[in-house]
């Protein structure tokens, strides 16, 4: 498998976006991010959502056969974007180092183990807007920091 050649480098998680089906950014957090997009955060969320929306439609047209999961990930020379979408349209997007392999289970856990448990099932958390829950934030942060490919690289 290809992913092992790169794993000698320090692997890391750059940032994480959580969108609902209408494109509202429910949550954003970053760990080792060296470069900002140079636009206000709200604009960045819109750009990210717009890009994912277009990639989804692009990929469904390009595919030679019928798709099941659809778009999974893309990588550039410096980072890899992992994408996971639930049937209800919640999208989990994580940017990591190139050395990280498929992490569908991790993204799925962020949705089912954290978002559903701590936000959807919490009557004090209104849906369809930015998550205010401090519990969700801290649990998510702790989960990401516990991942095997999260390195405590200073940044």
């Amino acid at each position: 498998m290809p992913h092992f050649e790169l794993s000698a480098f320090l692997m890391t998680v750059h940032n994480l976006y959580l969108f609902d089906r209408d494109g509202v950014c429910l949550h954003y957090s970053e760990w080792h991010r060296k470069k900002q997009a140079g636009i206000p955060k709200e604009e960045e969320y819109k750009l990210m959502y717009g890009m994912l929306f277009s990639i989804r439609s692009f990929v469904s047209k390009m595919s030679p056969v019928d798709m099941k999961d659809g778009f999974l990930a893309f990588q550039t020379s410096r980072y890899k974007l992992h994408y996971y979408e639930t049937p209800t349209g919640v999208k989990v997007v994580m940017n990591t180092d190139l050395g990280v392999g498929p992490i569908r289970d991790v993204l799925h856990h962020i949705y089912s183990g954290l978002y559903v448990e701590l936000v959807v099932k919490n009557p004090l958390c209104p849906l369809g807007q930015t998550v205010q829950s401090e519990l969700f934030r801290s649990r998510l942060d702790a989960y990401i920091r516990s991942l095997p490919f999260f390195s405590a690289r200073a940044g």
Binding site: H14, E44, F58, M67, L72, A73, S77
Partner: protein, 219 residues
Amino acid sequence: MAIFSVYVVNKAGGLIYQLDNYAPRAEAEKTFSYPLDLLLKLHDERVLVAFGQRDGIRVGHAVLSINGVDVNGKYTAEGKEVLEYLGNPANYPVSIRFGRPRLTSNEKLMLASMFHSLFAIGSQLSPELGSSGIEMLETDTFKLHCFQTLTGIKFVVLADPRQGGIDSLLRKIYEIYSDFALKNPFYSLEMPIRCELFDQNLKLALEVAEKAGTFGPGS
């Protein structure tokens, strides 16, 4: 293992070359009696299945042929509208072939320029400094590999997710482009590539890559 198709996009996002190398056929033919138990809908000048997934016929599939005669978009070979023809009880029983709609050349142009923009946004949203655009895009049915040259031309290859050796194939295609398009005195820069030698050598390179990539390392 297969390489599905190749796209060459110029620095302005225009498609200057496209080749469909291998298209897996996912088609289903079935004979129907009136009334049709599928809901068909007109979308983008094509008749698509909107509801009633069954027997290999999936939502989103297009009507490809009726009674063995190919359908052009929303018209039958005789020039009648497909929906009108299928709405008439006198035409039944009728045998319809369904399958994934094939891309028209217009759609390919559109998709190529769409990828050009996605490539640029991919580098703008990078959390790391000095990132390129999208080099590899992964889905469950195919992988898209892209190589951008220093002069801004993008070579895009769509291949099976397990196909290896695509990186060297992309460099090889660049070489073929330099040798047989750029060195052709009748080829004008940034314009569609219509060179026989380019075609021949590209097809050869794809064949070699398909054979070699089966055993090669993943890319």
